[in-house]
């Protein structure tokens, strides 16, 4: 299956590339959008192949990243519009989705989007309990109960916070 990207019909003049996700779906993307990713740019410079296979990015995440790249490659849009697109882009997205996005943008080296997503993640994390953070990052608590109590005691003022969320 080939999905054309939403921004304008592809003309014969415009060069394009096909990007395949790990689920096997293929996306047709203009080269001007693809090269906003440093990794894709390198691949395109190194080989003639117009088909790029990304083995660790799934369909849903890739579609989102491509929507971002296409918007930012669109010369018809003002910087203001692009900025508000960025804000819209992360707003309301679940932490799980953001995790995939941050990994994908890190792999593809889309620095601006990686930063926007990381910022949104930090924004969500700052009001969460430690237990929530451990769950979301699949981290085992390797402190002994005594060590944990000692850390909490040292910065007791910082823990006296009634606004932390666990979901």
């Amino acid at each position: 299956m080939v999905t054309t990207d939403e921004k304008g019909p592809l003309t014969a003049k415009k060069k394009s590339v096909i990007i395949r996700s790990c689920d096997g779906d293929e996306f047709l993307v203009s080269e001007s959008a693809a090269v906003l990713s440093t990794s894709l740019k390198k691949i395109l410079e190194e080989k003639e192949d117009r088909l790029i296979h990304l083995s660790d990015i799934d369909n849903k995440t890739l579609a989102m990243v491509i929507a971002y790249l296409s918007t930012h490659a669109d010369d018809g849009l003002s910087d203001d519009l692009k900025r508000s697109f960025d804000q819209e882009f992360v707003s309301g997205k679940e932490f799980d989705v953001l995790k995939y996005l941050v990994l994908a943008t890190d792999t593809l080296q889309v620095t601006c989007l990686c930063y926007t997503v990381a910022k949104k993640m930090a924004d969500i994390m700052k009001n969460k309990l430690v237990e929530w953070v451990r769950r979301e990052f699949d981290i085992q608590n390797d402190y002994t109960p005594e060590a944990e109590a000692e850390i909490r005691r040292l910065d007791a003022w910082a823990w006296d916070d009634r606004q932390l969320e666990d979901d």
């Binding site: 941050v102 990381a118 994390m125 700052k126 990052f137 608590n141």
Partner: protein, 380 residues
């Protein structure tokens, strides 16, 4: 479903194992949540406690939203507390030496005067209350074998300019009609530089309670001339005079100079039995004058809190992101009241009437015992 969950766990695992990416995310957390993130696991603690992390975190401060304003308060009995009026948190905040005085709070670092014992030798240190790291700054008191007296020590730190700070020390040659010498310490070179005697010879002021702002150290006095020292040029200038209504017969007037989120404020409170009001001024960015920002009728508050007729003080201005969120903290015996300028609403954000530090008809915090608490990992 099972499959999806395992994929989600995988993404979590990959991020947690990718130290560079993980660092990019947690660098965007404000300092207080970072303190708590140390408890996630030992690996996170090791990342957060490296000097390079705190350097980068300090440099990136502009990318993070300004945290909600909070304060360090000192009670009349010299106990320190952390106080967040927005989260309504009030918690003991002890220092290692009980003989500690905060001289200044400056963009995340504190300048502290301390003694090891009650009558011990005074020393000065720069302290980060978040990382609990401190550096003692030794001040050379004698110059060519002539003894000098310390008139005032102040701290100049602004991550917008540099992650390094300066200590400005004003010293007098003698106690009566002295010459004032200025020495400046730079934390980057760890060296002192002499700024000579930049003040006019007839200067008559005290060099305590300094405020660092726009790369100048200000000594603002409500009733006499105010000065600043420009750290770039080494020049001394005067701050504009403050014109407040003159006190009427039988009226009590109290004045406060305070900082809030990078603004200098002058707050004046006027008290008569049937008329109480408060004025808030702000020093204009170009140092050209004081701008009257708010005029507040305190009568509705004193009607709700008759304690105000006994004693009242101003603890601070809380500036929100927008003008609408700005408020003032008023202190009456046993209570701290937050008054919002935009809709004139007020509420008690701290009630100490059942606490052991409460004494009837007395204020628990004096005007010089309120410090902005700015979260930062800034190195000392």
């Amino acid at each position: 479903m099972e499959c999806q969950r395992s994929v989600s766990r995988r993404s979590a695992e990959i991020i947690a194992g990718n130290e560079d990416l993980l660092m990019e995310i947690i660098l965007l957390l404000p300092a207080k949540p970072l303190i708590k993130s140390q408890l996630v696991c030992k690996h996170w603690l090791s990342i957060i406690s490296t000097p390079s992390f705190s350097h980068r975190h300090t440099r990136l401060f502009r990318r993070r939203p300004k945290p909600q304003q909070s304060f360090i308060l000192r009670t009349i009995q010299s106990q320190f507390f952390y106080f967040s009026p927005i989260c309504k948190v009030f918690h003991p905040f002890p220092f290692s030496s009980p003989y500690t005085r905060i001289l200044q709070s400056c963009n995340g670092l504190l300048l502290i005067e301390s003694r090891n014992s009650k009558y011990g030798q005074k020393y000065y240190c720069v302290y980060n209350p978040i990382t609990k790291k401190s550096r003692i700054v030794w001040i050379e008191r004698s110059d060519k074998n002539k003894k000098r007296y310390i008139s005032g020590v102040s701290l100049a730190f602004d991550p917008k300019r540099s992650i390094h700070y300066k200590i400005v020390c004003v010293m007098a040659t003698e106690l009566f009609q002295p010459d004032y010498f200025v020495d400046v310490y730079d934390s980057e070179s760890h060296e002192w530089t002499s700024f000579g005697t930049p003040f006019p010879s007839d200067i008559n002021t005290i060099f305590t309670n300094a405020i660092y702002w726009n790369n100048r150290v200000y000594w603002i006095r409500p009733t006499s001339k105010s000065f600043y020292l420009d750290l770039q040029t080494g020049n001394v200038g005067s701050a504009p005079d403050i014109r407040t209504p003159s006190r009427k017969h039988g009226e009590i007037n109290k004045n406060y100079v305070m900082e809030s989120n990078d603004h200098i404020h002058y707050v004046s409170i006027y008290l008569r039995p049937h008329m109480k009001y408060l004025l808030v001024f702000e020093l204009l960015d170009d140092n050209s004058g004081w701008f009257e920002l708010y005029r507040v009728n305190l009568n509705p508050i004193s009607a709700a809190f008759p304690e105000m007729n006994v004693q009242v003080g101003v603890l601070g201005i809380v500036r929100g992101e927008t003008e609408e969120e700005s408020s003032v903290l008023l202190h009456v015996p046993g209570k701290v009241i937050l008054y919002k300028f935009c809709d004139c609403s007020f509420e008690v954000v701290l009630d100490l009437t059942k606490s052991e530090i409460y004494k009837e008809d007395q204020l628990q915090f004096s005007r010089y015992d309120v410090y902005q608490f700015i979260e930062s990992l800034a190195p000392v």
